[in-house]
Symmetry: C2
Subunit: 342 residues, 2 copies
């Protein structure tokens, strides 16, 4: 076992000072050609690589960005990570991923941990519990310390920082309009409780587009799910109780449960009932029938978030603060769970 080579060892070996080695490796003109060559050859031969920790300490920046997400076993989040990774790496940044498991405490813990020197900034989607508690002190804390923060997907207005979101309302409107266009009259909505912002917004889109089409809203046709674990049963119940000719679900799981329930009721998708989901995951693509869905373009969101963060990180401190909100457009992907346009 041969431990890592340091400047000090090179210096001792070649009988020069540490600073000479450092400068030689950075091609400083202060060092004589011969010495420089000798040092570089030695370093190359023994595969010298500077110690990142020491560099971070010296430069007071780590060149790594921290991502904290509620859960990783979730297609959308993984695509976002991919997107962040891609642009971060291009710009010489590293990525650390931490999970909050939707727990407020773990979110706080992870942020504190990463804030203590591990990262230069954060890209986050908030834990469900945090949204419920409405306790955002840990966010303002890191912002006050001068660490940039970019929020994505689950976002709230109270926190002043850069944000990347999708046009949930518009996306929902597109979806519901599409259902109307393909002949649906009674459209059920399967959403989440309102403190999950995306659920709220998509619900709003649903309501707005009905209003725009001068249709009445039937509250019986709106299901708001609190607990993921009981979602399957609730959806089944909802489908059995109500006569609908289309369902708009705010995520793919709900959409699939809806399809199952519809089929078990003896109806066909899309002939009798059309179904549209949100989030373009594996499930949507592979399911039979494959799901017509509002695609969130997670990778693009991740990329945008990374760009915003790195911009902030590399901006001079004197340039005034200003926070941007980037909206990544959704698009409707037509597959086989809906009737096609005439």
């Amino acid at each position: 076992m041969r431990p890592k080579l340091t400047l000090k060892q090179i210096a001792r070996e070649l009988d020069v000072s540490i600073s000479t080695v450092s400068r030689a490796l950075r091609d400083s003109s202060e060092i004589g050609e011969e010495t420089r060559k000798k040092i570089k050859a030695f370093a190359k031969f023994y595969n010298y690589k500077p110690n990142n920790i020491a560099l971070s300490l010296k430069n007071r920046k780590t060149k790594t960005i921290g991502i904290i997400i509620p859960e990783i076993v979730h297609y959308f989040f993984t695509t976002v990570i991919s997107g962040v990774e891609k642009v971060a790496n291009e710009k010489g940044y590293n990525v650390i991923v931490c999970l909050s498991n939707n727990s407020f405490d773990k979110e706080v813990l992870n942020m504190e941990l990463l804030a203590n020197g591990s990262t230069d900034g954060f890209i986050m989607s908030m834990a469900k519990e945090t949204l419920q508690k409405e306790d955002y002190h840990h966010f303002t804390e890191v912002i006050n310390q001068g660490m940039p923060l970019v929020l994505f997907d689950r976002v709230i207005d109270e926190i002043h920082c850069d944000k990347v979101i999708i046009d949930d309302v518009i996306g929902a409107k597109k979806a519901v309009q599409y259902l109307l266009d393909t002949g649906a009259q009674k459209i059920g909505l399967v959403s989440t409780v309102d403190y999950v912002s995306v659920g709220k917004l998509r619900t709003r889109g649903y309501l707005e587009i009905l209003r725009e089409n001068n249709l009445e809203v039937d509250q019986n046709l709106i299901l708001k799910i609190e607990d993921m674990d009981s979602s399957e049963a609730e959806i089944k119940d909802f489908i059995n109780k109500n006569e609908v000719d289309a369902v708009f679900a705010v995520n793919e799981h709900f959409a699939i449960h809806a399809i199952k329930a519809i089929q078990e009721k003896g109806l066909k998708v899309p002939e009798d009932v059309s179904v549209i989901g949100f989030t373009n995951g594996e499930l949507s693509k592979r399911f039979i029938p494959s799901l017509t869905t509002v695609s969130q373009h997670g990778e693009r969101m991740g990329g945008e978030a990374a760009k915003l963060l790195i911009d902030k990180l590399e901006r001079k401190p004197d340039e005034g603060e200003s926070y941007k909100t980037v909206i990544v457009e959704t698009s409707l992907i037509e597959r086989n769970s809906t009737k096609s346009l005439i």
Copy 2:
């Protein structure tokens, strides 16, 4: 904006030396009760948190472990990450996730990056390209530097380190035996090319169990897929050309393509043809029919890997080297893509 508090600032503020502050915060008996209380109160009030980077540099360990995986948009890997995270966090370790995107170069780059001070050890699954190239110098490199390495899932014998694998052969045997037990006679195999070790091993399980049952192997019933992109077409072709009454696929994507192809051929799953997959992902659970599958228990694998790594990290250097291979058992999860036992 208020930058992070340091020992130095506390010391200046309270008019004591830095070392006194450090000791007071660690409850050293060398510091007088009064001073200690004062310092602790001050630190608490202003929410002092030691800088991790400085600590890492001083202690020459980072308390973080690096995970490098081929891709994150993949259910199995995310479950592994979850598992690692869980036990790592319990033991006070952090987790960094990096992606190789199945590229050899990026794998090497990421390892070098993380090896230069960012992590104390690695948990990895190898990139496909690395397996093809059979170039493992970057692994031996970090091992030589004294960094522990745990390989999981995609593993090869040439690298001497701890490993966590599943009993691919046994898992495959279980699956095929189950198909035989439910009355299948002609069982097709949809596998990957042999340099992907899991493909090879699962293929071996298939062959072994046929032999054990004194059945002949028909090479026409074995499909080895090289390119994921063309897998759908290849599988369709394979199903159309061959008469089978069961299919064993080495992952869930292949299984689902097989089901689609079978249905498009006018046959029913599982009445006419049974299908078993490998990996218990979202897709397997939600697909209709839901997939009977060999579950890999990714979370358990991640947990075991983390335990092995942390064990190594916290062992005294004098204790001799010895490498373990932990085998995580697979289990067959019976769902609706196979006939049930009589």
